[in-house]
Structures are given as structure tokens and as C-alpha cells.
Symmetry: C2
């Protein structure tokens, strides 16, 4: 059970496309069998900063996510949108036990 | 709809008590009417670093959380456990729409 908290800083001129593509990625991701959460958050301090909160039940499910068309389409565009490369921190889930 | 991501760095000698009290806080919090998520995460890089991922449906629900016995009991002990003061980042929820 692992969570990745992904930090994303978007160029203002790409916000609309980022939000559209991230919505498509979200909608595909929550339908994946091993997905537990795929929350998209926007910083209250800076509207160009976002967090993806991604919880997959297994490492295999997380790896399968990276092969999906919705993720591949997102990541293909990400480099152009971002002020700096995104970074992710990895966590094990202590609670809830599901 | 707001999420707080709370970063916590625990003194190794207090890990057991921290985990016990955080479990109680979690169990109480997920029963609060406005609580959507209360995930407890442990860093894969450093087992003394934790994240609380707290989503409340309204500001009122988040404020009510801080009045609960389980939160009050937790926060009363937190100062003793921590290597440095905890810090939290605040986000609005973009997705999912619930």
C-alpha cells in the first residue's frame, strides 16, 4: 500500500490545458482496478501549484498506471507545462487499513 | 472542500506513543460527520517522518475537528514527540467532485 504525493508547478499560460488533461488522467485513473485515491489539489497560497495524491493498492497497480493511455497522454505534455520538473515523495499507508 | 497536508517529524524514542495516539486520533476523526479522508502516511525514506492527509467537507467541520477529545489529546502530547514543530500546507480540492 503506497502513496505518492506529487508536487507540480504549472506555467500560468498552460493552466487551462493542465487542468483539462489532469481531469482526463483523474477520470481514467480512478477506474483502474488497483487505484484507491487519485485526488487533485490546488495550493491555497499559489494557484499555479498543485498536488496529485495517488494511492495504489500494489506496486503492480502503480506500475500499470504508468502504462495507461490517460497517464501517457498526460506525461507527454507535462514537460511543456511545468515551471520546474515535478517531484514526488513516497509513503507507506499506516491508516486506514483497507 | 479543503485538504491539509501535515508534515510531522517524530523523535525515535516517541514513535510507539505517537503511533498509538495517532491511531486513536484517526479512529475518532473518520467518525466525524464532515470528515472525508484522514490518512496517516509514513515516509519510505525516513521512518520518523509522517504525513497526515486531512480532508474536511467544510471549514466548520475542520474547526469542529480541533475541538474533539481525540484531537485535543493528540495535540496535547505532540510537542513532546516532535523533532521540530509540525507544519501544514492547505489546498482546495479540484478532484474528485463529491
Amino acid at each position: 500500500m503506497a502513496v505518492r504525493i506529487v508536487h507540480i508547478h504549472v506555467k500560468p499560460e498552460h493552466l487551462e490545458e493542465f487542468l483539462d488533461m489532469t481531469r482526463r488522467n483523474h477520470e481514467g485513473s480512478i477506474r483502474e482496478p488497483g487505484n484507491v485515491r487519485f485526488d487533485v489539489l490546488r495550493s491555497m497560497d499559489d494557484p499555479t501549484r498543485f498536488v496529485l495524491y495517488e494511492w495504489y493498492a500494489t506496486d503492480e497497480a502503480a506500475a500499470a498506471h504508468r502504462e495507461t493511455p490517460h497517464y501517457q497522454a498526460w506525461v507527454a505534455r507535462a514537460g511543456e507545462w511545468l515551471v520546474e520538473p515535478r517531484h514526488a515523495d513516497a509513503y507507506e499507508v499506516v491508516l486506514p487499513e483497507i
